[in-house]
Amino acid sequence: MSKDRERARFTRRLTAWVDGEREPKDQTLFVMEQHPPRHVRQSEEEFQRREEDRLRKFFNWYPIAAAVICAVLVAILLTTVMSMPGFGEEDNPINNEVSDRYLEYGAEDTGSENVVTAMIIGYRGFDTLGESCVLFLAVAAVMILLLRDRKNTSELEVRQIERDEAEAMSHEDLILKQVAWVLIPFIFLFAIYVLLNGETSPGGGFSGGTILGAGLILFSAAFGFRRMQVLMNRRRYSAVRTFGLLLYGVLYGLYIFIGANGLPNYLTGMILLIDLAVGLVVACTMYGFYALFSRGEI
């Protein structure tokens, strides 16, 4: 009987300890005076006030600490750049045999006269593949956030957007449309020129793709989303994007496999194809950002 009670009490105390609760200590009979329990369990408001205090304290010291860190960092960096190799000198450590090799044999090795293109696609192509994956990943992340779903858009908003669109369709902006009519062909032409001439002139996949994307954005802004969807709906969009990156990935994977294993090189003229693939990926990315940001839909 008493054993049972003993155990029950033990269990209770144990659970209280586990929960972090204090229980009053008046277990004995011979206590002359009772100290008030030291830790009163704080009430809800008390707790909130404490939390706010902590947050306020955090914000009080945070700017000071951050400012000090920034000042120290800038001071350190200033001293560093002062003792770094001078600007524009020809015998700096960075101008070593690597850059010489790129400049001298770049055209021969990769078939691209623009050494920057040769470097980002030929010599250091793995970085560039990673970078295309960053773009791909960024669109996917923005899709997670902004693609319409029941969490981020209400029925009301969808109707609002549709109403706006209908209004925009009937109420067209004449100046923008006229300007767009004139500009868009040139933009596309320029984009394709930059894209395809990455080997011989400044540009290449990234710049060309961005300009192409800008052209798509302009088209979409001027002629409305509905007309844009004729050109590029969601399925086509995802197909083009995946095709571009997949083409790039597979081509480059083959290229690495052949190069690393010392097999004979069958892939000549690869730069053009890769530039095209990169251009597609970048253009889709830029347009995708725009569409998701403005409408939450592609």
Binding site: S207, G213, A214, F289, Y290, F293
Partner: protein, 83 residues
């Protein structure tokens, strides 16, 4: 040429300091856009035309459009209450 360089460098610093200090967010974004354009010019001075094209298209073009769209969304939502 060297004078242009100094003007550009100082301009970049001024823009960078001013951009976050502007009271209105729209102004901040516009100043940032100007910074991007200055950077594009600087890059062509540094003989990197590839960078200049990309920066002009990406920094001044797409990034600014994204900023503007975000601002627009925020302003649209200002009247409504959340959730």
């Amino acid at each position: 040429m060297i004078v242009l360089e100094y003007i550009l460098l100082i301009g970049v610093i001024v823009c960078a300091v001013a951009a976050p200090l502007c009271k209105r967010l729209l102004a901040s974004v516009i100043v940032y856009m100007a910074l991007s354009l200055l950077m594009a010019v600087l890059w062509s001075l540094l003989q990197s035309p590839d960078l200049a094209i990309t920066e002009a298209a990406v920094g001044a073009g797409v990034t600014s459009i994204l900023f503007f769209l975000t601002l627009k969304k925020i302003r649209e939502l200002k009247g409504t209450d959340d959730e």
